[in-house]
C-alpha cells in the first residue's frame, strides 16, 4: 500500500515536471488558437514549418541561434582555461594571499548580479564594446562557482604525482596539462556543462549589453516576441522549443557528470 502511495506521488510530480515540455511541443506544431481550446488540443499538429517560418521572419532565427551557440561555446572554452588554472593554483600551491583570494571569490558569489550590472554596462559603453561578442563573453569568464567546483576536485588529486613529475624535470604548464587535467575530466565536464547552461540561458546581461537585433541571443530575441501587441503563440512556442530542446539534449547526454559534479561541490 505504502509503495502505491509513493509511486503515485512521484508519478504526479513527474507529470507536473514533464507536462509543460510536452505542451511546448504541442504549441510549436499547432496554430496559435489551438492552445486555447476546450477540450485542450493534446496532439501535435501540422504547423511545424509554418511556425518555424513565421519565427524566422520575426527574429532572424539563424543569426540569433548562431549567436547563442557561438557565445556559449567560446565562453565555455575560455572560462574553463581561466577557472581551471586558478583552481589549480588555489588547490596545489602555497602562496601569499591564497586564502584571501579564495575567500574573496567565495564572498563575491553572495553579491547580487544587479549590483554590478550598471558599471559593467558603462564600462562596455565607454570602450564602445556594447553589442559585441566581447561584451557577451568576457565579463563573466572568471566564474567563482566554477573555480570552487574545480578546486574541490583538484584537492583530491595526489600531490606526490605532481612532485614526482617535477623531479623528472617537467615544466609546470606541462604537468598541469598532461598530468593533472587528463585525470580531471569528470570535474571539467561538470564545470563545462554548468558554464554552458549558465551562458546559454543568460538573459539580463545580454538584454542590456546588446542593442541590435543582429547581436541578440536566443533568450533576448524570445523575450522581444512577447512584447508585440498581437502575439502569435505558435511561433512563440516554436521559439521556446528551439531554446529548450538543445539544452535538454545536452543535459540528458551528460547528466551523470553534471549531477555528480554539482553534488560533489555541494556536499563536500
Amino acid at each position: 500500500m505504502r509503495k502505491i502511495g509513493l509511486y503515485s506521488m512521484l508519478g504526479l510530480f513527474t507529470i507536473i515536471s514533464i507536462f509543460p515540455f510536452y505542451w511546448m511541443i504541442i504549441g510549436a506544431t499547432n496554430e496559435s488558437g489551438k492552445m486555447f481550446t476546450n477540450p485542450p488540443t493534446l496532439k501535435p499538429g501540422d504547423q511545424f514549418m509554418t511556425n518555424l517560418q513565421n519565427l524566422n521572419a520575426s527574429i532572424d532565427l539563424g543569426r540569433v541561434f548562431f549567436n547563442s551557440v557561438f557565445v556559449s561555446v567560446v565562453y565555455v572554452i575560455v572560462a574553463l582555461m581561466v577557472c581551471s588554472t586558478a583552481a589549480y593554483a588555489l588547490s596545489k600551491f602555497e602562496f601569499k594571499g591564497r586564502n584571501a583570494i579564495f575567500t574573496t571569490l567565495l564572498l563575491s558569489m553572495m553579491i547580487p548580479y544587479q549590483a554590478t550590472l550598471i558599471p559593467l554596462f558603462q564600462l562596455m559603453s565607454n570602450f564602445n564594446l556594447l553589442d559585441t561578442y566581447f561584451a557577451l563573453i568576457v565579463p563573466q569568464l572568471c566564474f567563482p562557482f566554477a573555480i570552487f567546483l574545480l578546486r574541490q576536485n583538484f584537492l583530491a588529486f595526489p600531490t606526490e604525482l605532481i612532485e614526482a613529475a617535477r623531479l623528472d624535470g617537467a615544466g609546470e604548464m606541462r604537468i598541469f596539462l598532461t598530468i593533472v587535467l587528463p585525470s580531471m575530466k569528470p570535474a571539467m565536464a561538470a564545470a563545462a556543462i554548468f558554464l554552458f547552461m549558465t551562458q546559454w540561458n543568460n538573459f539580463m546581461w545580454p538584454l542590456v549589453a546588446t542593442t541590435s537585433n543582429e547581436m541578440a541571443t536566443l533568450p533576448v530575441a524570445l523575450s522581444s516576441l512577447i512584447g508585440l501587441s498581437i502575439i502569435d503563440y505558435g511561433q512563440v512556442m516554436m521559439g521556446v522549443t528551439i531554446a529548450t530542446i538543445p539544452i535538454i539534449v545536452f543535459f540528458l547526454a551528460l547528466q551523470r557528470h553534471f549531477i555528480s559534479g554539482m553534488l560533489g561541490s555541494a556536499v563536500k
Binding site: 486555447f36 586558478a86 544587479q114 554590478t116 550598471i118 572568471c142 609546470e172 538573459f203 547528466q255
Partner: protein, 284 residues
C-alpha cells in the same frame, strides 16, 4: 618542494585580472554611483539623496514587499517539497530512481526566459491551466490579471523551476548519511514522519541552510520571471527589486537611483544570510 615563487600567481593571474575588472571594480563603482545623481549631463555627488528618495517611493516599497512575500512563501514551500521528494527517492525499495531524478531536475535545466514565456501561455485566461481546473469544477482564475493570483503565478512558476534542483542537492546529502541513526530510530519505534523530522531534517541542517541561502539570494534578484511573465503587473503587484533596478537603470537611465536599489539588495542578502546562519546555529 620548492617552486618558483611567482608561479602560482601566473596560474591565477588571468582569473584575478578578469575578476578585478569585471566584478570588484563594478561592485565598488556601483556603490559610489549610488551616492551620485545626474545633474546637467554629469554625475555629481549628492550624498544620501538616492537613499532618501527611496523612502518616499511607493513603487520601491511595493517591490520590496512583493519580493518579501514571494521569498517567505516560495522558499519554505520549495525546500520542504524538495526534502520530501529527496526522501522519497532515497527509499531503498524504489525503482526507476534515475528516471524520477532526471525528470524532476529537467525544469532546472531550461532557461528562465523560456519557461517564463511557457508559463505565461499556460496561465492565460483561456489557457490550459484553467481548462484543467474546469474539469475539476473549479472556476477559471485570472492568473496573470489579478494582483493576488499574479504573485501566486510567479511562485508556482519558480517552484516548478527550482524544486528539482534543490532535491538533487538534498538527495546527495541523504546518501552520505549513516544508516545507524535510522536503525536506532527504528529500535525506538519511530514512524516514517517522526524519522523525517527528528532524524533526517536535523542531520541535513547544513545542506538545508546552504540551499536556503542560495534560494534567498536568487529570489532577492528575481527578474526574468516577472519581466517575461507579468511585466511587473498588474498595478505593480509583481514588481520586484530586480525588475525595478532594471527599469530605473535601462528605461529611465537613472543609474544612481538604480544603484541605490541594488545596494539595498546587497544589504538584504547580507542581513538575511547572517540571520539564517544565526537561527540555524551553524557554527561552521
Amino acid at each position: 618542494m620548492k617552486t618558483n615563487k611567482s608561479l602560482p600567481y601566473l596560474f591565477i593571474a588571468p582569473a584575478l585580472l578578469l575578476f578585478a575588472l569585471f566584478t570588484i571594480y563594478p561592485i565598488f563603482s556601483s556603490f559610489v554611483l549610488s551616492f551620485q545623481s545626474m545633474e546637467g549631463g554629469k554625475y555629481v555627488f549628492t550624498g544620501l539623496s538616492n537613499y532618501t528618495r527611496l523612502l518616499g517611493d511607493d513603487i520601491f516599497w511595493k517591490a520590496l514587499g512583493n519580493t518579501g512575500i514571494i521569498l517567505i512563501v516560495q522558499v519554505p514551500v520549495m525546500i520542504l517539497l524538495a526534502l520530501v521528494l529527496a526522501n522519497a527517492l532515497n527509499s531503498q525499495l524504489l525503482r526507476l530512481k534515475g528516471f524520477f531524478r532526471v525528470s524532476f531536475f529537467l525544469p532546472a535545466v531550461t532557461s528562465l526566459v523560456a519557461y517564463s514565456i511557457l508559463f505565461s501561455i499556460i496561465l492565460q485566461d483561456e489557457g490550459i491551466m484553467n481548462t484543467v481546473l474546469g474539469f475539476f469544477g473549479i472556476d477559471a482564475i485570472q492568473w496573470l490579471g489579478d494582483p493576488f493570483w499574479a504573485k501566486v503565478s510567479i511562485i508556482v512558476a519558480m517552484t516548478w523551476r527550482w524544486t528539482g534542483y534543490n532535491m538533487v542537492i538534498f538527495l546527495a546529502a541523504l546518501q552520505s548519511l549513516s544508516h545507524e541513526v535510522y536503525e536506532a530510530a527504528d529500535l525506538d519505534g519511530a514512524n516514517r514522519i517522526q524519522k523525517f523530522f527528528h532524524v533526517t531534517v536535523p542531520q541535513l541542517k547544513p545542506v538545508i541552510l546552504f540551499a536556503t541561502i542560495l534560494s534567498t539570494i536568487g529570489t532577492l534578484q528575481l527578474f526574468d520571471e516577472p519581466f517575461n511573465l507579468t511585466k511587473g503587473g498588474p498595478a505593480d503587484s509583481t514588481m520586484t527589486l530586480g525588475l525595478y533596478i532594471y527599469q530605473n537603470g535601462f528605461k529611465y537611465f537613472d543609474f544612481g537611483y538604480a544603484s541605490a536599489i541594488a545596494y539595498v539588495v546587497v544589504l538584504l542578502v547580507g542581513i538575511l544570510t547572517f540571520f539564517q546562519f544565526k537561527f540555524t546555529g551553524d557554527k561552521s
